[in-house]
Amino acid sequence: MAKMAVMEGSHAIAEAAKVCRPAVVSAYPITPQTHIVEDISQMIANGDLTNCEYVRTESEFSAASVIQGAQAAGARTFSATASQGALLMYEVLFSIAGMRLPCVLAMANRAVSSPINIWNDHQDAISARDSGWIQIWAEDNQEAADMIIQAYKIGEDPRVMLPVMVNMDGFLITHLYEPVETYDQKMVDEFLPPYNPQYKLDPKQPVTMGALAQPEYYTEARYMVHNAQIRAKEVIEEVAAEFGKKFGRYKGGLIDTYKMEGAKIALVAMGSIIGTMKDAVDEMREAGVPVGIVKIRSYRPFPVEALRAALKEAEIVCVLDRNISLGGEGAVFTDLKGALYNASHSPTMLGFIIGLGGRDTTVEDIKNIVKKAQAKLGGERVSELEWYKLDVEILPEGI
């Protein structure tokens, strides 16, 4: 039976993975993902998760390879990783998506080396954005866990057949305790039918997977993956709505908005920073500042139409990126500018690089960003891209 309990994010995510009945789990330990796979190990050891093979690999590369093979053989799979581990999986991630295998991966978002840094930002997943995986970002423990269940339903939909990466901020979700509602197995079984793919590796019906595509087929094969991503937009919305109906929790589809009615200033971000932003927006709204939030839940597929609609009345948009495409700008900032360029309404846009490598973001920080937006609206010069709270004092002289 479903019940509410204070739970570490990792545990909630492991519980969600369990009720989806994965047949093969494969992972390699990496901070801050470890609690998830430890919990699943314990569930198997206790006999709470049965008919499940847990393959403890010697690297994330192999973990990804194992789930690819297992999924190709017709099994539902689960894995979790973060940071360097995700980078080590990188090559397999592309292969899984290209082969249209709907694996589900919990990504405990963390910064990448060098310098080594074990804390949270979004660089690991952002750098895999072109892999063909659907990328969903969760705001809190409940949403992260709920998204695991939705991820299987989205990925396995015949219109989609793509792997799904559920992104959850490392530590800020994985290691944070808060009340979470757990799942009733029967309800999950009703929501998520068993995995039954059109093609699988089976001697009774042999097929060849991973064939070589020569130039006359490659473009079309890539287009099909892209097309599946585009079709996933409606599936993500549908699944979110269906989940909401079934479990009584709806957190938005491709995007979610908060106090966007009459908001001249829109803040756009992904992940757990949204919670802190909501508190800041409440305070600012009370003080009469017309500010609201657009939360991107699905980064891939990128919800161009939904974002255009949500931002159609904003005069200025501040994008908070917890990543940096070095030599470029924040990835979400770039994508959103691209999405709005040919839109009927193109607001002014400011990009902020914030919260890299675990740097804490507070309500005050959000208010400061809104002040910059107000200054820009007031005609002041504000740089288009800011590394928020960059400590110039510690930079070498001359930079």
Partner: protein, 309 residues
């Protein structure tokens, strides 16, 4: 015209006389249809599956260059977890580059974790798919495009990596070397491996006609010479111990093997080449000693080998 029954079908695009294609055809004759194959990136992968064609009549998957082993492990886990294991065999294939070099770390993981799979490395002794570059399995003095012979080099200056011994050190139940030049030996070992539960490793010597620079008609003959000279000993490890060795009667001098291959032709032209051939002879002699290859201990003939027409 009678239908062709092979599970590795005709129409694949391997070179004329390809030893590796012969290996695949023969392999599936042994396994029959109840098998799932993973195949590392390499010649055999590209020549057998140019979409929409496939030479495979059994379930087959290619993912990447270095993950044939772990993908097979995933398949095995899936069959077990979903209750579909039955008698279905899971076989991972890789060339020597995919196996002994880039995939070696994760292959070690697969072997150590005890998956019930058979890994077969078809060893043609260089990266043939990309144009004959040196791998860890390239033999001493072989000319490859990344170990070319030149005024001051005789080619690859490192001996072939002893992958079977490393695999055996994992404590797995079965490791064997074989050669597609010896179909009976090959068939026997594949069949035996498939009766054993747990991880198995078989390394199959197979020719690459352009890579070795051989007359395609000699594709099988050359492989026999590799064995008959002691350069490619055929043996089995069971649970870490060598339990069988293919004995050789009247071991032939290595020259007979080398002089039919362009990859070694520099040894017959360059000053000092004879010394190098002696070194290769020494490798064969050490193999003979280590594995006890000779039926009657006899020194290799000193006379020049007969030329094959």
């Amino acid at each position: 015209m009678a239908a062709l029954e092979d599970l590795f079908a005709s129409g694949h695009r391997a070179c004329a006389g390809c030893g590796c294609a012969l290996f695949l055809k023969t392999l599936l004759r042994v396994t029959g249809p109840d098998v799932i194959i993973t195949n590392a990136t390499g010649c055999m992968e590209v020549v057998s599956t140019p979409y929409p064609e496939s030479a495979w009549k059994v379930p087959w998957i290619h993912s990447l260059f270095e993950n044939s082993g772990p993908v097979a492990a995933g398949i095995e886990a899936a069959l077990k977890a979903t209750g579909r294991k039955g008698n279905t065999k899971v076989i991972a294939l890789g060339g020597d580059g995919g196996t002994i070099d880039i995939g070696f770390g994760n292959l070690s993981g697969v072997m150590e974790r005890g998956h019930d799979i058979l890994y077969i490395c078809y060893d043609n002794e260089a990266y043939m798919n990309t144009g004959i570059q040196r791998s860890g399995s390239t033999p001493y003095d072989a000319n490859t495009t990344t170990t070319p012979s030149g005024k001051i080099s005789f080619g690859n200056q490192r001996p072939k990596k002893n992958a079977p011994a490393i695999m055996a050190a994992h404590g797995i139940p079965y490791v064997a070397t074989t050669s597609i030049g010896y179909p009976a030996d090959f068939t026997k070992k594949i069949r035996k491996a498939l009766t054993i539960e747990g991880p198995k490793y078989i390394q199959v010597h197979a020719t690459c006609t352009p890579g070795w620079g051989i007359d395609s008609a000699l594709s099988i003959e050359i492989l026999r010479l590799a064995v008959e000279t002691g350069l490619y000993p055929l043996y089995e490890y069971e649970n870490g111990q060598i339990t069988s060795v293919k004995k050789i009667k009247d071991r032939k001098p290595v020259k007979e093997y080398l002089d039919k291959q362009k990859r070694f032709s520099h040894l017959f032209k360059m000053p000092g080449g004879d010394k190098e051939i002696e070194k290769i002879q020494h490798i064969a002699d050490l193999n003979a000693k280590h594995f006890g290859l000779d039926i009657e201990p006899s020194k290799p003939a000193a006379a020049a080998p007969k030329k094959v027409e």
